[in-house]
């Protein structure tokens, strides 16, 4: 067992640099998404009829797809779609899952029933659940956001409840009760702030899951509909020409991978900082 490699200082440095790499990439990605109309060389829907499936070149850095559209521009605009869908769906999971978790932990009487209901939701494989919700609501970007949002409610509820169960036993909660603080006040001002560190970790990890879920749905033709650029749908369009024009599939997939990787780096490092007990646990 080498001491140097595991010494706290080295570990912390390694952790900081991983966090910095991940966060740095995400900042660049968000900037690219926001500034896409300014920095993209072409419109994502402009078709260059004479250069269909053109290999990467100076004119088209990432090549063109089967309709002669610039892959780089579509990847940039696809970042907007993916980040938007992921943000909205994570917000849905958060807005419903967190109150459920906190309330269940606070009111012991309903805890059992609520968590059992959550267990039942958990018994659907996640992507299947999202696909099924889309089947009911109909394909499309809005419905995909709702579907992904609902799918990951149980995760938020479970994680938040587990932490809130510890918090509600604390003496400061009892003090708040004894000075006559109202229940909403206790939940919002005393319980919620003390589960935020767990919440932030869960948020960053869930973001990456949402990105994968969105691109899976769009890849299956159930999420974002063409011609709107989305990484998943681009991969689907690249499928037919994968041997002829691999760049149509490589770049959007790389974008998904790097985004998810960066978010996982950030999530992992944050967890190590904020919750040392879980160090190294999945």
């Amino acid at each position: 067992m080498s001491v140097a490699a595991t010494s706290p200082a080295r570990r912390l440095l390694a952790r900081y640099s991983l966090l910095a790499i991940g966060a740095g990439f995400l900042v660049v990605l968000v900037l690219a998404a926001v500034l896409a109309p300014l920095i993209a060389p072409y419109s994502p829907e402009q078709m260059f009829a004479r250069s269909r499936l053109a290999a990467p070149s100076a004119a088209h850095l990432f090549g063109t797809d089967h309709l002669g559209r610039d892959v780089l521009s579509r990847v940039l605009f696809g970042a907007r779609t993916s980040l938007y869908v992921a943000t909205v769906s994570v917000a849905i999971s958060l807005a419903i899952g967190v109150p459920i978790g906190i309330v269940a932990a606070y009111y012991k009487k309903i805890d059992n029933i609520v968590m059992r209901a959550i267990d039942v939701l958990f018994s659907f494989p996640p992507v299947l659940m999202a696909i099924f919700i889309v089947a009911v609501l109909g394909p499309g970007m809005l419905n995909a956001m709702i579907a992904i949002g609902i799918t990951y409610i149980p995760r938020f509820a479970r994680v938040i409840r587990a932490q809130a169960l510890i918090v509600v036993e604390m003496t400061y909660i009892r003090s708040a009760k004894s000075i006559g603080a109202s229940t909403p006040r206790i939940l919002l001002r005393h319980v919620l702030p003390n589960v935020t560190s767990i919440l932030i970790v869960q948020l960053s990890l869930n973001f990456s899951t949402a990105i994968i879920a969105e691109s899976s749905l769009s890849f299956l033709g159930l999420g974002v509909q063409p011609p709107q650029p989305s990484w998943g749908a681009m991969l689907d369009q690249g499928r037919a020409v994968v041997e002829l024009a691999p760049w149509v599939s490589i770049y959007p997939g790389l974008a998904i991978f790097l985004t998810v990787f960066a978010m996982n780096l950030v999530g992992d490092s944050l967890r190590d900082f904020l919750d040392p007990r879980l160090r190294g646990v999945i």
Partner: protein
């Protein structure tokens, strides 16, 4: 043990009941009537629609429809496809082996590879290999399986042009061709599981290695392989099994997507094309079968826990 078994069985049956109510009930929530949607593209007279509704039993109140569906399923009758008129059960039976094989192979690759590398990392803690494994595991968790699938297809096309990668053949028709076709999708599917299992195995083995009973085992003169096998491995398995179970859900979802990448005629393809064709009886049947499989996996895991660790009492 018996009480535990009874409680777990009861809970599993209850979950299946609720799942069936959700699946059947949710499809009733479709904004427009399923038959209307079905005829939207092709047109069709009202009389024809009424006839169709009557034949599918959609004119009856929902509880009656639900009961008919559930009692039918208990007898192996999943209704008939609204598109093709083929019994849904027959379609499911035809597609099931593909998905089953894919998920089993993926689980096998992932669990085996993950446990082996996890142990290696734990035993060589702090060395270059261990430090390499952390980021590699994170990469494995972050690669979308369907993109990895296309990359593998591209790679095979370039470097192994003679390998059979497309065109599904049943295992019993031609085992070698079947395995050749299933190899890449199973690898793509298993990588994420493998990474998760590897990380958990490493943590869990490290945790157990520092326990008193391991020191005792060494102190009484047990050889290192025996310490590893009998004392460390067995005791670090439970969290690993938890990860495998949780990831099985991800695997089932991943197989739906991967079947599209590799054009495999499995349950995922059946489900996605049924959604596209608004074939709701098929959607209902396939969704329930996949959810059922996952519930049963969870049930089996609970039993495995109990066998591995008699102290487990949680309901």
């Amino acid at each position: 043990m018996l009480g535990y078994l009874v409680r777990k069985t009861g809970w599993t049956l209850l979950v299946l009941l609720v799942v069936s109510v959700i699946v059947s009930g949710a499809l009733r929530l479709i904004p427009s009537d399923a038959v209307d949607l079905l005829f939207q593209a092709d047109g069709g007279s009202d009389a024809l629609k009424e006839e169709m509704r009557r034949r599918l039993g959609l004119d009856r109140p929902w509880p009656v429809q639900y009961l008919a569906w559930v009692t039918g399923m208990l007898q192996g009758d999943f209704g008939t496809s609204m598109r093709t008129g083929i019994p849904v059960a027959r379609q499911i039976v035809q597609s099931m082996p593909v998905t089953l094989e894919l998920v089993l192979l993926g689980t096998l690759f992932g669990s085996f590879g993950g446990i082996v590398f996890g142990i290696l990392a734990a035993r060589n803690r702090g060395t270059f290999w261990d430090l390499l494994i952390q980021p590699v595991g994170l990469v494995g968790l972050s690669i979308p399986s369907f993109w990895l699938g296309s990359l593998l297809l591209m790679g095979a096309g370039l470097y192994l042009p003679q390998m059979r990668t497309v065109g599904y053949v049943g295992f019993f028709e031609d085992p070698l061709a079947n395995l050749s076709v299933m190899l890449l999708p199973a690898l793509a599917l298993g990588l994420a599981l493998g990474s998760a299992v590897m990380r958990m195995t490493r943590t869990s083995v490290l945790d157990v290695m520092n326990q008193d009973f391991v020191r005792t085992a060494r102190a009484k003169g047990l050889r290192e392989p025996a310490v590893m096998r009998r004392h460390i491995l067995l005791n670090s398995l439970i969290p690993v099994i938890t990860v495998i179970t949780i990831q099985m859900g991800v695997l089932i979802g991943g197989s739906i997507v991967l079947e599209r990448v590799f054009a495999l005629p499995g349950l995922g393809r059946l489900l996605v094309s049924a959604i596209g064709e608004r074939d709701y009886t098929t959607v209902q049947g396939v969704t329930f079968v996949l959810a059922f499989a996952f519930v049963m996996i969870n049930f089996a895991t609970d039993l495995i826990y109990k066998v591995l660790d008699p102290r487990v009492t949680v309901g």
